[in-house]
């Protein structure tokens, strides 16, 4: 488990460094996708299966692909790397150090000793009293099952509302982009299918 965590975290961090260091913007976006995949791996390790899947579907499936399209369409040249990174080091490094210290201090002081699961099942603390986790003795459901059971019954209203939002988004997108102008060229499926190869290509004499 810990090995997986280390692997995902190391890959995630190194590919996120590559996002900002890659020469080609397309490579950057591809590395970004790799970051998302690794992060969703970490989420699965935490037991957040539904969240991990949503992360993959939304970020990789929709947003990163959109990024990729935009980057490809914008025709950005491979940027020149004359300027050195040292110029940004004082400010960026300072902010990074502050964040690092915050995380280290926060982890050390608060969360790690309380999180018994991370220390293994055989750990017995002298300071912390031991609890019987009643939740674990019950039959457990995975996250997706639990969300499904709640969202289709008690909270069906939220599900409905999400669908209405999608309906409005659909109508709005059609209204704002569809041009009913006769000058706009459209695909004529029938004409395409009825076209004959021999008549289409003509030899200019």
């Amino acid at each position: 488990m810990n090995l997986f965590l280390a692997a995902f975290a190391a890959l995630g961090i190194s590919s996120s460094i590559m996002v900002i260091r890659a020469n080609n913007p397309v490579y950057s976006v591809l590395y970004l996708i790799l970051v998302f995949v690794n992060v969703s791996g970490i989420l699965i390790l935490q037991g957040l299966d539904f969240f991990a899947m949503i992360f993959l579907v939304v970020y990789v499936g929709a947003i990163a692909v959109l990024f990729l399209f935009v980057v490809m369409m914008l025709n950005i040249k491979v940027e020149e790397k004359q300027e050195s990174m040292l110029r940004y080091l004082p400010v960026g490094g300072g902010i990074g150090l502050i964040f690092f210290l915050e995380v280290v201090i926060g982890l050390d002081k608060e969360f790690v000793p309380l999180n018994l699961l991370s220390l293994g099942p055989s750990y017995e603390s002298e300071i912390l009293p031991e609890y019987l986790h009643w939740g674990e003795t019950l039959a457990q459901k995975t996250g997706i099952e639990a969300i499904g059971q709640v969202i289709y019954t008690y909270y069906f209203y939220y599900f409905f509302m999400a669908s209405f939002i999608l309906l409005v988004a659909m109508i709005g997108a059609i209204l704002l982009t569809l041009h009913n102008d006769p000058k706009v060229k459209r695909q004529e499926v029938f004409e395409q299918n009825a076209r004959e190869f021999s008549r289409t290509i003509q030899k200019a004499s």
Binding site: T153, Y154, Y155, F156, Y157, Y158, M161, A162, F164, I165, L167, V168, A169, I171, G172, I174, L175, L176, N180
Partner: protein, 492 residues
């Protein structure tokens, strides 16, 4: 056999009816023959209006007055019934204004009507939402529709700018709302308003830690809502959006979302966080002050009609926030009364603006009002009475509502708000009266007066009804007092 939500759907009959009606209209619009869209928008307006009337009747005749629906996500009470009926009436009036506007502006898209109906539905659900998640979903539902409506005239740069600006800033304020709600959820573990209210009973001023962390969440929440109602420090988007959007949509923006958002504000702060009254009172105190001042001073420099109306609505929001800052039932009643009167006045003002259309197009500048008295004396007198009412001159409806709010503020010992409110309404008198001067006491130019187009019957009806309301509410105000009192009593 007992089902989970057996009686809940009975409480949701008006909304369900509206949803089914608009789905049928959507189907009709898709099915209808291409090339005859301009006929169809007229059919759709009639049927959509009928839908709204039926929804209104269902709402008024509903036997379920107080109910919590759908597993603590929605609530029906006096306030929701009052505000929902106002929202339905205002949408109906917008439909009335659209009959002539759509063909004049060559808007053929029937989705206009569908989106307005969807926005109405979402506003109704917003008023009765009882939980942060349902509230957020309703707000998103509403604002997505309104973004599209603001950018409806996509060939017009102003309209596109309005849509884009509204979208970016609306998304920004939704982010604030989510952040505040998640802070409060992280601290308390609940998103339900009543649970929050019960949890905070008595902890307000005592526990410093709880108060400190809740107040941060409250600050984010109130900033998000104040953004959406365009109260003063967060009002920058509203003149641009109001100017750019098609005029009918501007009228809708300045009435219906405000009705619903004030309902939401009252529900969140009076039901969920009433024990933190002294924390949020200051926020609303400040914003109310700022909105009144910015609304009246900002309007002085405007040269375009719609921008002026936007600033005037910012000022009105400031007056309504007085009622929220009082923290009393009297203040709530004042808000409800003000919302009613504000709705009538705004509908009247926008129908006058829409009636001023000449053959060249819509009037944009205030100077187009010049010598209105010679062109159409009836319109001139209607507009001037409405402006007097907006300024709060005594025998008119606007005076009644302002008077009530100022007295509520005095009873809650918010003397500075009441005094500054009176002062800023004096300043607002200045620019309203300058408009009246422009209409009446201006030398007739040698340039010939452009005749205004004939007014269609729906707009005429609206003009007459709202003018009648503005003139005579003051004579017999007790039904409106009773209605607003009944709405306010749901928070006693």
């Amino acid at each position: 056999m007992f089902y989970l939500f057996e009686s809940d759907f009975l409480g949701l009959i008006p909304e369900t009816f509206l949803l089914l009606g608009l789905s049928a209209l959507l189907g009709y619009g898709v099915w209808y023959e291409k090339g005859r869209e301009s006929d169809m928008t007229s059919h759709q307006l009639w049927i959509g209006g009928l839908c709204l009337v039926f929804t209104f009747i269902l709402l008024c005749e509903s036997p379920l007055m107080n109910m919590i629906l759908c597993y603590n996500t929605l609530i029906i009470d006096g306030m929701s019934a009052f505000l929902k009926s106002l929202i339905l009436i205002s949408t109906l009036c917008i439909f009335g204004l659209s009959f002539a506007y759509l063909p004049q502006e060559r808007i053929k898209a029937f989705e206009f009507i569908i989106l307005l109906l969807l926005a109405t539905l979402s506003l109704m659900l917003m008023v009765s939402s009882y939980d942060f998640i349902s509230l957020y979903l309703a707000i998103e539902f509403q604002s997505l529709g309104l973004y599209v409506l603001a950018a409806l005239k996509r060939d017009n740069e102003y309209s596109t700018e309005a849509g884009l600006k509204y979208f970016v800033l609306g998304a920004f304020s939704s982010g604030f709302l989510l952040f505040g709600a998640s802070l409060i959820y992280g601290l308390t573990g609940t998103t339900n308003f009543e649970d929050l209210g019960l949890l905070f009973t008595g902890v307000g001023p005592t526990d410093l830690f709880t108060q400190g962390s809740i107040v941060v969440g409250l600050l984010f929440l109130s900033v998000a809502f104040l953004f959406k109602v365009s109260a003063a420090p967060f009002h920058m988007w509203s003149p641009d959006v109001y100017e750019g959007a098609p005029t009918v949509i501007t009228a809708f923006f300045s009435i219906a979302p405000k009705l619903a958002l004030f309902g939401v504000l009252i529900r969140v702060f009076y039901l969920g966080f009433f024990d933190f009254l002294f924390s949020w009172q200051q926020i609303f105190f400040f914003c109310s002050l700022a909105s009144m001042v910015f609304g009246s001073f900002g309007a002085l420099g405007q040269v375009k009609i719609k921008r002026l109306l936007a600033f005037s609505s910012i000022g009105h929001v400031g007056y309504m926030l007085i009622g929220l800052a009082t923290g009393t039932l009297q203040g709530l009643q004042g808000i409800f009364l003000y919302l009613l009167v504000y709705m009538i006045m705004t509908i009247n003002a926008f129908s006058v603006v829409l009636s001023l259309r000449t053959r060249e197009g819509e009037p944009k500048f205030l100077l187009d009002l010049k010598n209105l008295n010679l062109k159409s004396p009836i319109l001139a007198i209607t507009l001037s009475i409405t402006l007097f009412s907006m300024a709060g001159i005594p025998p008119l409806a606007g005076f009644l509502s302002k008077f009530y709010l100022f007295f509520a503020a005095l009873d809650a010992s918010l003397y500075s708000l009441a005094i500054l409110g009176v002062l800023s309404s004096v300043i607002s008198c200045f620019y309203y009266i300058s408009l009246i001067k422009l209409m009446y006491f201006h030398k007739a130019d040698e340039v010939e007066l452009k005749p205004i187009l004939p007014i269609d019957s729906q707009k005429g009806l609206l003009l007459g009804l709202s003018f009648f309301g503005i003139l005579f509410i003051f004579l017999y105000p007790s039904p409106f007092f009773l209605l607003s009192h009944a709405a306010a009593l749901s928070f006693s």
